[in-house]
């Protein structure tokens, strides 16, 4: 019952960490250094908020004409569609994510172990890719409906694909892994003991799941659903494929169509408000309760074998979800890519493939590292900050997440304006930045990506560290451990799965990201997503198939690493 019980894997960690803890140091008077934690949190928040504030200042001088006109015409409808879409996708991915996590983590059926990690794969599928593949295959002009009309006549009814329903299905299919991954990690890391205790006290499996496991999963599920809703909120490519009119579409339409950045910023504040609503909702879902595991690290739920028809039904459910969200679309992309490769106008930039790949990798890796390090610092600032700072640090932590709610191009232009202002300020004191830093630099790109993607890292890290009981932290501190030692020897090992999850979520987001890299990339710095976009934006879907496949393939690498982590973390319980 001490903090020395760390994850059983990798082997050796237990012994090493407990040995380290045995060398108890005398408490030293390091209270003063605690101030550095809230400071770090606030500096981070400032770095995130500054670029957004640069654009938000336009709201101080509202251009009321467009604002009023939009309220009178399109905005009310957009608000309704946005809310319907968000709720639909939240419900869809919540249902898929938690039920699949429970099914694969707590049961054994044909292929259950394989499905356990395979079901994360759709994380590698950009929603805009699944969107255009779905429309071209199942949409009105696709082969499926063509066949349908041949069979049942030109006016035969077919469910409308290009619709709100279609959009909700596509988003849920690609976004459910955000819920699945976090729920599964939580099931693996902690829920087992409580579940088995409840069972031994006479609760049936369903009742035990509902009354004991589900409440414990709440922080993880809430974090996952929040990420899903943010992704949906700021999307503007996929929704347009499906003719769904959200506020984000409105922001782009006003910005690009009326050339009125101020009016667009005003609309963007509505997107921000929605995001704040999502964050509030997440707090609500997460609940007040905190579930530290008394035994340091809990064990996973022991899988119960399913038999007969139920076992096959479970396999079929996994196959269907995987097929629709990943297998079939990938097969279609492969078919298109093969058709193009055999045609005479193959993709001419094929020889630069390795270069694009390398650029994508650089960006994704660095962004993931920056985001996870910052997330660990910010999360721990809340623990180690002196009591008086708790609420202020909490606010800083919330602010660092705000970039996720801001559409990509807004972040990009904001970062640019901030860098140019910084450059001007430095020049005034004779320290001008080299041009490459001020505009179109790799540094600016990573900065913008970090502003945008801190939230998923923060959510995952927070959810992970919340499982570390406060009294373990307190014991270590009272034994004289400094905050960074507590992080290094207790928090990080205990929350390893969550940290890996955070890194993967960010890396995959960064690989798929589009608007920021389009705007801020240095000259000649092309990535896979830029390549895909240039073709897809011209409806050259067949040519876009190859780079789209490349994104999926590259994104699968971190996703596979995450899968392995999750499996290993589960130890022998499989």
């Amino acid at each position: 019952m001490t903090a020395t019980e760390v994850p059983p894997s990798p082997p050796g960690a237990t012994r090493r960490d407990s040995a380290r803890l045995d060398r108890v140091e005398r408490p030293v008077g390091d209270r003063v250094s605690d101030r550095s934690w809230p400071t770090a949190a606030w500096v981070t928040a400032l770095l995130v908020v500054t670029p957004i504030a640069f654009l938000a200042t336009s709201i101080l001088d509202p251009s009321t004409d467009v604002w009023r006109q939009q309220w009178e015409t399109r905005l009310p409808g957009q608000l309704i569609e946005t809310v319907v879409l968000l709720v639909g996708v939240a419900v869809g991915s919540l249902a898929l994510g938690t039920s699949l996590a429970w099914l694969t983590a707590a049961h054994r059926f044909p292929g259950s172990r394989t499905f356990g990690w395979l079901l994360i794969a759709p994380l590698a599928m950009p929603s805009y890719v699944l969107g255009f593949v779905t429309l071209s295959v199942v949409g009105f002009t696709g082969p499926l409906q063509g066949w349908w009309r041949d069979q049942f006549g030109a006016d035969a009814w077919f469910p409308p694909v290009r619709s709100m329903g279609g959009a909700i299905v596509v988003f849920s299919l690609v976004l459910y892994p955000y819920v699945y991954v976090l729920a599964r990690a939580a099931l693996r890391d902690q829920a087992g003991t409580a579940y088995e205790t409840a069972r031994s006290l006479g609760a049936g499996p369903v009742e035990a799941a509902r009354r004991v496991v589900l409440p414990q999963l709440r922080p993880a599920i809430a974090a996952g659903v929040a990420v899903v809703m943010m992704e949906t909120l700021t999307d503007f490519a996929t929704v347009q494929y499906f003719g769904v009119d959200t506020i984000s579409v409105g922001v782009f339409r006003i910005w690009r169509g009326t050339f009125d950045r101020d009016a667009a910023s005003e609309l963007a504040t509505l997107v921000l408000l929605c995001a704040l609503g999502i964050i509030g909702l997440e707090r609500l879902l997460r609940g007040r309760a905190r579930f530290g595991q008394a035994a340091g690290r809990g064990s996973g739920v022991a899988p119960r074998p399913l038999t007969g028809a139920r076992a096959w039904a479970a396999s079929l459910a996994c196959v269907s979800v995987l097929g629709l969200s990943f297998g079939l679309p990938v097969a279609q992309l492969v078919a298109w890519a093969a058709k193009r490769a055999s045609g005479d106008d193959g993709t001419p930039v094929l020889d630069r493939f390795l270069e694009f790949l390398w650029h994508s990798l650089q960006l994704a890796t660095l962004t993931a590292i920056v985001c996870v390090v910052v997330a660990v610092v910010v999360t721990n600032a809340r623990r180690f900050g002196r009591d008086g700072h708790q609420s202020s640090v909490g606010l800083a932590a919330r602010l660092t997440a705000v970039g996720y709610a801001v559409p990509g191009p807004v972040v990009a232009i904001g970062v640019l304006l901030a860098l140019v202002a910084l450059d001007d300020a430095l020049e005034a004191v004779g320290l001008g930045l080299p041009g490459v830093v001020a505009t179109g630099s790799f540094l600016g790109l990573v900065y913008a990506y970090s502003v945008r993607f801190l939230a998923p890292a923060l959510n995952a890290v927070e959810a992970g560290l919340e499982q570390v009981p406060d009294d373990v932290t307190a014991s270590a501190r009272s034994l004289g451990r400094r905050p960074h030692q507590v992080i290094g020897s207790i928090h990080l090992p205990l929350a390893r799965t969550s940290l890996a999850t955070a890194a993967v979520l960010v890396a995959v987001d960064a690989l798929k990201e589009l608007p920021i890299v389009l705007l801020l990339r240095p000259f000649g710095f092309e990535t896979l997503s830029v390549w895909t976009y240039n073709l897809a934006s011209e409806s050259r879907f067949e040519q876009a198939a190859l780079p789209a496949l490349a994104i999926i393939a590259v994104a699968l690498v971190p996703v596979a690493l995450l899968s392995r982590r999750l499996e290993n973390a589960g130890g022998g319980r499989g």
Partner: protein
Amino acid sequence: MATLAFASAACTGGGDDEVVRVYSGRHYDLETAFTQFSEETGISVEFRTGSDAELRELIEAEGDETEADVYLTVDAGNLAIGAEAGLFAPLESELLTDAIPAELRDPDNQWFGLTLRARTIVYNPDLVAADEVPTTYEELAEPEWEGRLCLRNSSNVYTQSLVASLIANHGEDRALEIVEGWANNAEILSNDVLILESIADGLCDAGITNHYYLARLLADDPDFGVELVWANQENRGVHVNISGGGVTRYADNPDLAQEFLEWLATDGQSAFVDGNHEYPANPSVEPEALIAEAFGTDFLRDDLSASTFGSLNAQAVLLMDSAGYR
């Protein structure tokens, strides 16, 4: 520190004077034309692609630090607004003013149209009888087309500039009526290829698209079942948008940039327009064979100046919202 190394590595050619840097809202087949330019002149071309509006914001935000020598877009609206924001340097080039007709360039020669894209009426000949083939944009707003049209959404700049041209030609009230009629009659889709395929498959009978999307489909399948008709030939002519560009005010290499534009407007026209089946802006250059044969070269163009409908773009967006056109 590794990041700084990446940054400087990516900024190749920083010390090289023989480089033109282009911000381009146009993506198709840039490389063919740019490579040819480099081969002929020894000047290398570096480019960054993106959406028109975002690149324009980028140039504005970068101010005198901008790396862009040339800004290329796919519609007149962004060129007009860029000129208003003072992003361009006016050019004194006889070569350019001779090559590009007056209505296809800025009155102060800040920007020049380089390619033409006609936005016109397309239809399925199996579903539309020969005597009821629509010939004007206005006609498509009539009740007999209810449920028979596929049109592009209002987020799209081609739709916006077409509506801007309606405002310029008819005034706001009549334009609103027409757009309301369209909204009532049409299924609104998100791209031109989808519109053409939907017409071919019979989801709708007719629609409005840019000519080169049909050319592209015809290049893949000569029997593709959609026909094109040049709109409004009895009155003002078919609406034509341009893609074009100008030299930025803070260009590092304004002379090379001008040379580059001059080449695109003359010797480079075919390399620049043919890959995308567009019509050359320079009237002395022949269009490629496919569009010349399938659509012809002899049609009446609405000579409304690109800078006029460009400046009406914002009004067009708000008008479509009022009309309930998504």
